[in-house]
């Protein structure tokens, strides 16, 4: 015991950096995607390995165009007028300073003048300008847009990401060590993504900031921790965990061991590199934008490239009641660079065909500007009409669906309800929107609600789907 001294020492900086493994995409795929067992084996496979065989709820395995989804969630609700549905002739009370929407590479489609990069790839995405639900409260609208349901019908429905993870992110189909459903970087606060499907379908939230080096992914990448120290720690834990040694065959301990093996496969293996944007060429990183949002887009691409099924990028700060236009000048260029580069980059790699992108907030913002104090040129919540950008995964590019009136206040052509958008996403993934899943209280719940359940619909987005 006398040798056991505890004193402050400075760690050797060389030791902190750790060995940098140089990996090719192929080895990553080999080790990660087709590696041992899914990280979230806890899902279905865990309790009963044959659970799949007994689950009558799974739809027939229909191949979809889309293999993965990237959801860009503009939390707070961006103005449709100042992004994808400009109304330059509506007058100063509606346009504010943005009176010169720019042409895109698709004749006839014009978007906000700050979205210069997105203007160059308009042939690769479509704009839904007739999105509507009429709800002006953040939480209700966020729930509605991501589940298709109005709250209050006794169930807490899972969001699109959890449903995709449920149907597409479980073994044997999904075998990656990386969780199938990932949020960059923070979850949406109160919003329970998994709903009644339960915690195992919750997204893995990375935490940290991908624009910082290293991108500290909570739990996977620990700054200053070398692989050799990780291994020594693991040995120490094994030696000291007396309970585990004593009742090693206890089911709870077995479960712990299994979870721990999966965790260490990620910590010590190479899968964690999927989260590391510093492996990308500097030029490309710059193109995405060196911000949290830009680098999140880049990491999202790296993740879907490795088979991750659903990535949500939560972009905050769109709830611009006050000094809205100043905020837009800050935020739009960031969105523009990140999103346009993501679309182009996926297209360049041949991944846009199989990667579906959808980008919107929970609602739009009031077309009429509140010039008076305290708003000083603000826009408030507006659920009656807003826009969604969709790209890839079987969505056509260069199309506009629906239209609003002269001031962007009413949908006058082809309304699109949340159920229509969500149903279309599921269809492109090969998940039948009429599929039901079992609620813990017994009843069967449709993954997309019907008009009879109080959820309006104007039909799937067939006009822009290539299926």
């Amino acid at each position: 015991m006398s040798d056991f001294r505890l004193a402050h020492v400075i760690l050797n900086p060389a030791d902190q950096a750790g060995p940098r493994e140089k990996l090719t995409r192929r080895t990553l795929l080999a080790r990660g995607l087709f590696g041992v067992l899914g990280l979230y084996l806890g899902h279905r496979g865990f309790t009963s390995p044959s659970a799949w065989a007994f689950d009558p709820l799974l739809p027939a395995d229909k191949p979809g165009k889309a293999k993965a989804v990237i959801q860009i969630w503009l939390w707070g609700g961006p103005s449709h007028l100042d992004t994808f549905d400009p109304k330059p002739d509506a007058g100063n009370d509606y346009t504010g300073p943005f009176t010169n929407p720019i042409s895109t590479n698709v004749p006839g489609i014009r978007i906000n003048e700050l979205l210069t990069e997105l203007a160059k790839v308009a042939d690769k995405y479509s704009l839904i300008r007739g999105m509507t639900h009429g709800v002006n409260a953040h939480e209700t609208a966020a729930y509605l847009v991501q589940t298709g349901r109005m709250p209050g019908d006794r169930i807490v429905a899972p969001a699109v990401g959890a449903v995709v993870s449920y149907f597409k992110g479980q073994p044997p189909e999904y075998q990656s060590l990386i969780p199938p459903y990932i949020v960059l970087t923070e979850p949406q606060g109160r919003f329970s993504e998994a709903g009644f499907l339960g915690p195992k379908y919750k997204p893995f939230a990375t935490g940290g900031d991908p624009s910082k080096t290293p991108f500290t992914v909570e739990g996977i990448v620990a700054p200053g921790m070398t692989q050799s120290r990780q291994r020594e720690r693991r040995e120490l834990l094994a030696k000291l965990d007396i309970l585990r040694q004593t009742v090693s065959d206890h089911p709870q301990i077995q479960e712990l061991k299994q979870a721990e093996e999966q965790a260490y496969d990620l910590i010590l293996g190479s899968s964690g590199k999927a989260f590391d944007p510093s492996e990308e060429p500097q030029e490309l990183r710059q193109k995405y934008g060196t911000t949290t949002f830009g680098q999140s887009c880049l990491v999202a691409r790296r993740l879907v490239e490795r088979g991750v099924r659903y990535v949500t990028i939560n972009s905050k700060g769109w709830d611009t009641h006050k000094e809205h236009f100043q905020a837009m000048r800050r935020k739009l260029p960031d969105l523009d660079r990140g999103l346009a580069t993501l679309i182009q980059d996926l297209a360049d790699r041949g991944l846009l065909e199989s990667t579906l992108i959808w980008c919107c907030g929970e609602f739009g913002r009031t077309p009429k500007i509140a010039w008076e104090p305290p708003w000083n040129g603000g826009r408030h919540h507006y659920g009656k009409a807003f826009s969604v950008l969709v790209a890839g995964g079987g969505f056509k590019g260069g199309q506009v669906v629906g239209a609003t009136d002269k001031t962007g206040s009413e949908v006058v052509e082809r309304p699109v309800y949340p159920t229509d958008l969500i149903g279309s996403i599921y269809t492109l993934l090969g998940i039948d929107p009429a599929t039901t899943v079992r609620h813990p209280q017994g009843q069967m719940v449709r993954i997309v609600p019907t008009p009879e359940e109080g959820a309006p619909s104007a039909g799937l987005l067939k006009e822009i789907m290539t299926v």
Partner: protein
């Protein structure tokens, strides 16, 4: 060591152990540090009933647990709090015979008892400000205040239920009225379902529809009247309350046991139902709660799931359940009396190391079951050890809920106030009040977080609670001993001290790092993460 075993017997068993070790093998030898070396003996009626059962099935129960295990277990189970090093040490070093019984009494009287059980009750009462329950923050506060003081004063359980079912008044001022507001469906049927689940342990959605309808009639005259204050509602009896279809409320109701009644015009039907419910003869009322307490303390009900009571889901030991029911009625609905009976039983004090491979060993409670600490208890314990705190807040809706710095997660009282950690570790959303909403199963994501997150690493390295351990001064052996008492609530074994000394020797130049790694290892051990 609390035991009433005569000394002679103990000497005899020790002698036997020395004489015929091969015969007894693992049967009698104490497994350090979990067993006490004392075989199971009968201490009270619970033990007697179960011992009979074990004997008939040929199940050998585990040994009585060690003092270190007991002090940790009973703190976690009764007050949801880890004992401090000092508390653990004081108890282990105490040589008085009835120290376990005294500790149980002490804990039942602590304010943390009410904190912890307010949390557990809050789960099944669905206390949540926001979607989908939408109680609203002020109402959550009022409800929690009522609940906390009811538990702290050990309000007789019949009165407890009576107040929840029959109170009238403002949701901001009369906490108990929120019982009727804390459901996703406030229709008479939705309320009847919540009442059946909470107080009868039955899932009314499995009932024939006419049975639910008959019970719903008792709750068809409740009105929720708004006031001038934002989100305030007066919950009250309104005999003229119209149904959704505009018809007058039904005049007849049917109790869940099938007895029909014409609702008297001059009485609140909620009271009529509540009086039927809290009668000592009611077949559900006492059964549900004693079974739930058993479930809360053992992680497994005598009827299991505890909130799925039905004729085709019988108790595993009917005699045990009816004994506890009669004790509750005879004690005039004293819930702490039931806790006391269970906690003082040697069944509760069994070690987690099983002595039988019988497949039904766990079903019959022949050893203490391992369970991962609840999300809130786990983070509170880590904060206590490391001297750190977590930030909790709720920004939507106004009024914002600001949680004071250093507040424990167990005391949050509102499922709308949460954190990534609590979410990840299966804290219940309180959406439907089922016990299964709380998920204590370990996942790979949780394991990653505990093993390798900066959140936990920062707590260990920067927390003020362990400064004494990382300080360069002090006797290493004494410090490791105190660390074990702090994290695992027991003394380290000689074997453990040897392993640590060896590791330290191997890493001589990195002794602070070795210290950090040791704390990390203990916090990541199953002994820390699980009730055992």
């Amino acid at each position: 060591m609390k035991t009433f075993q005569p000394l002679v017997l103990r000497i005899l068993s020790v002698t036997l152990l020395l004489l015929v070790p091969a015969l007894l093998a693992r049967g009698e030898e104490a497994i350090e540090p979990f067993d006490s070396g004392q075989p199971f003996t009968v201490n009270n009626r619970i033990d007697e009933i179960l011992a009979k059962k074990w004997k008939s099935l040929g199940i050998q129960p585990a040994q009585i647990c060690s003092d270190g295990v007991f002090v940790r277990r009973v703190y976690l189970d009764v007050i949801g709090t880890l004992p401090t090093a000092e508390e653990a040490q004081r108890f282990i070093d105490d040589t008085s015979r009835n120290k376990r019984q005294r500790l149980i009494e002490e804990l039942l009287d602590r304010p943390e008892y009410a904190d912890y059980w307010t949390m557990r009750w809050g789960d099944i009462l669905r206390i949540k400000a926001e979607f989908p329950i939408n109680l609203w923050p002020n109402a959550v506060q009022a409800y929690n205040r009522w609940l906390w003081s009811a538990l702290a004063t050990n309000k007789p359980y019949d009165q407890f239920a009576m107040e929840l079912l029959t109170s009238s008044g403002s949701n901001f001022r009369v906490g108990a009225v929120n019982f009727y507001r804390a459901t996703q469906d406030r229709s008479p049927k939705g309320i009847a379902q919540a009442v059946a689940l909470t107080f009868m342990g039955e899932r009314a959605e499995k009932w024939p529809p006419e049975r639910l309808e008959g019970m719903a009639a008792f709750f068809s005259q409740i009105s929720f009247k708004p006031t001038l204050e934002w989100k305030e509602e007066i919950v009250t009896w309104d005999p003229f309350h119209a149904t959704e279809s505009g018809d007058p409320p039904p005049q007849e109701a049917v109790f869940p046991d099938g007895v029909k009644i014409k609702l008297p015009a001059d009485r609140d039907p909620r009271k009529v139902f509540a009086e039927w419910l809290v009668s000592p003869k009611n077949p559900w009322f006492a059964k549900n709660i004693v079974n739930r307490i058993w479930y809360w303390l053992f992680g497994r009900g005598i009827i299991h799931e505890p909130d799925d009571i039905r004729t085709d889901n019988p108790p595993v030991v009917p005699e045990l359940l009816s004994y506890l029911e009669s004790e509750l009625v005879q004690s005039k609905w004293d819930l702490k009396h039931i806790y006391r009976l269970i906690l003082n039983s040697n069944t509760y004090q069994l070690s987690c190391v099983p002595r039988s491979q019988h497949p039904e060993r766990d079903t019959y409670f022949a050893c203490y079951p391992l369970r991962r600490l609840e999300a809130e208890v786990l983070i509170d314990a880590i904060c206590q050890i490391t001297g750190t705190s977590e930030d909790y807040w709720s920004m939507v809706p106004e009024p914002y809920t600001v949680v004071p710095q250093g507040e424990r997660a167990v005391r949050l009282g509102d499922a709308s106030i949460t954190s990534a950690f609590l979410e990840m570790f299966g804290r219940p959303p309180r959406d439907n009040g089922l016990e299964s909403e709380r998920n204590n199963r370990i996942t790979a994501g949780q394991r990653l977080h505990l093993l390798n997150s900066s959140h936990i690493a920062r707590k260990i390295e920067d927390g003020r609670g362990l400064e004494w351990f990382f300080a360069s001064s002090g006797n290493p052996r004494a410090k490791v001993t105190r660390l074990y008492l702090t994290v695992l609530s027991r003394y380290p074994t000689e074997k453990e001290l040897a392993v640590i000394a060896e590791t330290a020797k191997a890493q001589r130049s990195l002794s602070r790092q070795a210290g950090v790694d040791l704390v990390w290892a203990l916090i990541n051990s199953s002994e820390f993460l699980y009730r055992h």
